[in-house]
């Protein structure tokens, strides 16, 4: 069970910059570490993260070993219509996660 948090303001004015904040619980294994038996722990980072606003992609991130565990991301987009902000991500091990939030534009 992984936790992903997505924060979008519930309401916004049309044409306004909207702040989106994302936090995901993920170990972000670098692939450079070894376990207690000396075996390499395979690299496992969030390889692809996509954020869509009413179906249109507004943000994409491809993260590698340089990003710390439990990544925090923040970006802005311009509010146009009421609708849904959806977050989907997949990691190197194939695990998927998602979160969504609604926004009302007046």
């Amino acid at each position: 069970m992984t936790v992903a948090r997505l924060l979008v303001p519930a309401q916004a004015k049309r044409g306004e910059f909207v702040e989106v904040r994302i936090a995901i619980q993920h170990p972000m294994e670098t692939g450079f570490r070894m376990d207690n038996n000396g075996r390499v722990i395979p690299k496992n980072t969030i390889s692809n993260l996509v954020c869509r606003y009413n179906g249109a992609e507004v943000f994409r991130a491809e993260m590698g070993s340089g990003i710390a565990a439990n990544p925090y991301l923040q970006f802005y987009f311009v509010a146009q219509d009421s609708g849904k902000v959806e977050l989907d991500w997949v990691d190197d091990a194939g695990a998927k996660g998602s979160a969504s939030a609604a926004i009302v534009v007046t």
Partner: protein, 307 residues
């Protein structure tokens, strides 16, 4: 107010006096004799002087016993957050950016998830944690009335699981146990630490206190040497804090994950190259009680963020 570290072999009230008032005569005499007595004999062994010295020793004992419940405490108490930089402080204050809050979110889900044969969740008995768990963490560790053993919040959650949910206890330091502990602690955030030392837990308190003042490991340091005498100074690149447990379970940037107070304490044992007691062991529980007493009045910061 600088104190000598007391050897662990002082089980009696005399041992308490060592930390309590630091009278040189008492500090130098291991069992209340020796130095003082030999000097009295050196003066000719007059009965009057003997009596005088004897009554003075008794007086010292009385004074130290009266003060016994007051080992040294840093004054003013400062939370570890006062010893970190602005970025880390900002991370702790921002409930969204703080990675520790991910565990709290997960804890909130687990709170309402049924576990074990009983099919009960935490919420089945305790209902809304915002009400039932308010101020709970601030009063732990406590003696569990059922088993008469000292338990911390982690231990209490596991007691609930085995006794009421008929579920397997969660492994110490597992994400599930940490998440629930953080979620419970969240409802004490901002409240002053308020353990009480009573006849039930006094023995644990004394053991924890003795451990705090006992030199450990190859480096041969006691907790007191860093956290009472040298807080605010540098240890390599790090600023030494007063060593309070108020933010735990906390997210440490060094760990890249959330960890319990016992994990942090084990790191200190490792640092002085001492044998590390297992997480959840009696030694660490007793130490946790002493630390909670020592931090009385400091605000609970669970879940904190540290370097």
């Amino acid at each position: 107010m600088r104190r000598e570290a007391a050897p662990r072999a002082f089980p009696s009230s005399l041992g308490i006096g060592i930390y309590a008032n630091g009278l040189p005569a008492l500090r130098a005499t291991r069992a209340g004799q020796g130095h003082t007595w030999s000097r009295a004999e050196g003066w000719g062994g007059g009965t009057f002087i003997r009596l005088l010295v004897y009554s003075f020793t008794l007086f010292c004992l009385a004074v130290t016993t009266a003060d016994a419940a007051q080992p040294f405490r840093p004054d003013p108490l400062k939370s570890g957050i006062d010893f970190v930089g602005a970025e880390v402080r900002g991370l702790q204050q921002d409930d969204f950016a703080s990675p520790a809050m991910l565990w709290a979110t997960r804890g909130e889900k687990l709170w309402a998830t049924p576990a074990g044969k009983s099919g009960k969740s935490c919420a089945s008995c305790h209902q809304d944690a915002r009400v039932s768990m308010k101020g709970v963490t601030a009063k732990y560790p406590k003696v569990d009335p059922g088993s008469a053993r000292l338990v911390n919040v982690e231990g209490c959650i596991n007691i609930c699981r085995t006794r009421h949910q008929q579920a397997e206890p969660l492994r110490y330091e597992s994400d599930e146990l940490l998440s629930l502990t953080v979620y419970v602690g969240l409802h004490s955030r901002g409240m002053p630490m308020a353990v009480t030392i009573d006849p039930q837990n006094r023995r644990n308190f004394e053991r924890g206190r003795d451990l705090f003042y006992t030199r450990q490991g190859q480096i041969n340091l006691a907790c007191t040497h860093c956290h009472d005498r040298n807080f605010g100074r540098k240890l390599l690149n790090d600023t030494i804090s007063q060593g309070h447990g108020n933010p735990y379970p906390a997210y440490r940037l060094e760990w890249q994950t959330l960890g319990s107070l016992h994990r942090r304490l084990r790191a200190c044992f490792f640092g002085v190259r001492a044998e590390m007691p297992p997480a959840g062991s009696q030694d660490l529980l007793d130490l946790e009680l002493f630390l909670a007493w020592r931090a009385q009045g400091l605000k609970v910061e669970t879940p904190g963020v540290r370097r």
